[in-house]
């Protein structure tokens, strides 16, 4: 049994040593044996071997293969695509725990990593990977395995058309504002699949309550951003950010920004709307039966959705990447994104939970009325030529 941290480090180093020692001894003969069999040129094999040691040659090789930093593959997978979003999501999880702890006058994660627990997400990852994947006996197996993958797919597909700066984007579209909201409209489906497949009566009730909540706040979310569309005249996110060069849209569309913010809190099931997660008869809502990496994938999907919604708020209301020219535009975007993420996390520390009927009444009655008033204000402003 591994008893101490030093032993663990020793074992990892031993594994690494043997791997580094043996892998060339095994890989090189195989590579050179493939030359006569498949007729690969020896220079190609030499290139691959030098690329594994020399970073500049490796970069050139990767670009030749079409996976370089300006290729679509890189954009989709690394930056500004999935890996970047997952990184922001995991940093958000740690940041949330530390911010809430600081407000409550306590330390958050402290011991993973020398300084204030900054390696806690890695510790969490290893913990989730090490747990057993329990599938309940009466659960619907296909849907049970599908729900976390659907959640992750939903989160990842939202990243496709959102630009991070005039030059950093994966794809451009004339309707790049509508596409993310259309995909977010699928999240009730994910909740329903996860709740139904659990075959747990109480998780199902929790899932139904979550559905009520998500359905109640769809309409205000969509109408509150229509004001921005009216002021700009286009659905393209790039043009919306371009139109905010002189004045951020939060000033003429203040009411819309507040409504959008409240619906973000509800969409992500955060306090004060986190009733599905904290009910009497429901241990953890619709994700009760998910353990280990299933749970990890579900949460990753939710937190990538968090990142996307915060990004949309920044682009729509806070002027996106507009800012003084001494810093690159993407840095301004990330600063504003940080601020919006803090704003979404903070109500968890200062507000209590609402009851279900109060929550739904706010969504259907108050917010729809206010969002229509906001649209009316936007039409008036646009006709007066405020922008």
């Amino acid at each position: 049994m591994i008893e101490t941290f030093e032993e663990f480090v020793k074992r990892i180093l031993a594994l690494l040593f043997w791997f580094i020692l043996l892998s060339p001894l095994i890989i090189f003969p195989i590579l050179f044996l493939l030359v006569p069999i498949f007729g690969i040129d020896v220079t190609t094999v030499n290139e691959i071997l030098t690329a594994s040691i020399d970073p500049i040659k490796a970069l050139k090789l990767v670009e030749e293969l079409g996976l370089g930093p300006s290729s679509t593959f890189f954009k989709v997978v690394a930056f500004p695509g999935f890996t970047f979003a997952a990184l922001v999501a995991t940093i958000t999880i740690l940041y949330e725990r530390k911010l809430i702890a600081k407000t409550q006058l306590r330390v958050g994660p402290l011991y993973a990593g020398r300084f204030e627990g900054f390696l806690q997400p890695i510790a969490d990852l290893f913990k989730l990977l090490g747990k057993e994947l329990i599938v309940p006996e009466k659960a619907d197996k296909a849907f049970f395995w599908a729900a976390p993958i659907l959640s992750l797919a939903l989160g990842a597909s939202l990243l496709a058309v959102i630009p991070l700066s005039p030059t950093i984007y994966i794809a451009r579209s004339d309707f790049s504002l509508l596409i993310p909201f259309a995909i977010i409209g699928f999240s009730p489906l994910v909740v329903l699949i996860a709740a139904w497949a659990s075959s747990n009566k109480f998780a199902f009730i929790g899932g139904l309550r979550a559905l009520h909540q998500l359905a109640a706040y769809e309409i205000p979310m969509l109408i509150s951003i229509l004001g921005v569309v009216v002021l700009t005249g286009s659905f393209d996110l790039m043009e919306i950010v371009e139109a905010q060069k002189n004045m951020w849209f939060i000033i003429p569309q203040f009411l819309g920004a507040i409504i959008f913010y409240i619906t973000i809190l509800s969409e992500l099931e955060r306090v004060p709307f986190d009733l599905p997660e904290a009910e009497t008869e429901i241990v953890s809502g619709w994700l009760t039966e998910y353990t280990g990496m299933h749970f990890g994938l579900l949460q990753l999907g939710v937190y990538i959705k968090f990142y996307v919604l915060a990004l949309l708020f920044t682009l729509l209301f806070l002027g996106g990447w507009n800012g003084p020219a001494f810093l690159p535009p993407v840095v301004w975007l990330l600063t504003k994104l940080f601020f919006v993420i803090s704003l979404i996390i903070f109500p968890r520390a200062v507000l209590p939970r609402l009851r279900l009927d109060q929550l739904i009444r706010i969504g259907w009655a108050w917010l729809i009325a206010l969002s229509f008033i906001n649209l009316f204000i936007a039409v008036i402003e646009s006709s007066l030529g405020v922008i």
Partner: protein, 166 residues
């Protein structure tokens, strides 16, 4: 949308934000220990004690006479003091018996200290008494005679910057 709603929520946000910049209150045990000044003692002549922490007991074996009053006092409270035979010759202790305390049962009320008429059973500020074996919780008279080491190094200070351990 009345004024009270908006000002209430904004007030809550402002107070939360102000507390983000205060010092954190957590005592980082076991790297930090709270400082405890003294243990509880009792003066048999004036029949009053002096304030102090009620932790592990300390037995002054050179003054104990084996009168068993501590065991009798504890009998109906926690029944954790047993008088056991000790080796050696003790000038003040003709019966050669001294108290042994079972910390699995002790409730740290201190009435045994109040009962001792010879000022030889007091309490010390040591509170880390856990053991992995239940038999190790029974401290013999000679284990009780050892004074604990002083470990405390922080105090809880309420301040303008928040209450913190320093």
């Amino acid at each position: 949308m009345n004024y009270k709603l908006i000002s209430g929520i904004l007030g809550a946000f402002v107070v939360g934000l102000r507390n983000v910049f205060k010092r954190r209150m957590t005592l980082k045990y076991p790297e930090e220990h709270l400082e405890i000044e003294s243990g509880y003692t009792y003066d048999a002549k004036t029949e009053t004690g002096s304030p102090g922490f009620k932790g592990r007991h300390i037995l002054y074996t050179d003054k104990c006479t084996g009168c068993s009053l501590c065991a009798i006092a504890c009998e109906n409270i926690a029944d954790c003091i047993d008088m056991v035979k000790v080796e050696g010759s003790w000038p003040t202790n003709p019966k050669n018996i001294m108290p042994q305390i079972d910390y699995g049962r002790c409730v740290f009320c201190g009435f045994c200290v109040d009962a001792c008429p010879f000022d030889c059973l007091f309490m010390t500020p040591e509170y880390e008494l856990s053991a992995t074996d239940k038999r190790k919780l029974v401290h013999t008279p000679f284990q009780l005679a050892v004074f604990p080491e002083k470990k405390g190094n922080v105090k809880l200070i309420p301040d303008d910057r928040g209450a913190y351990h320093d």
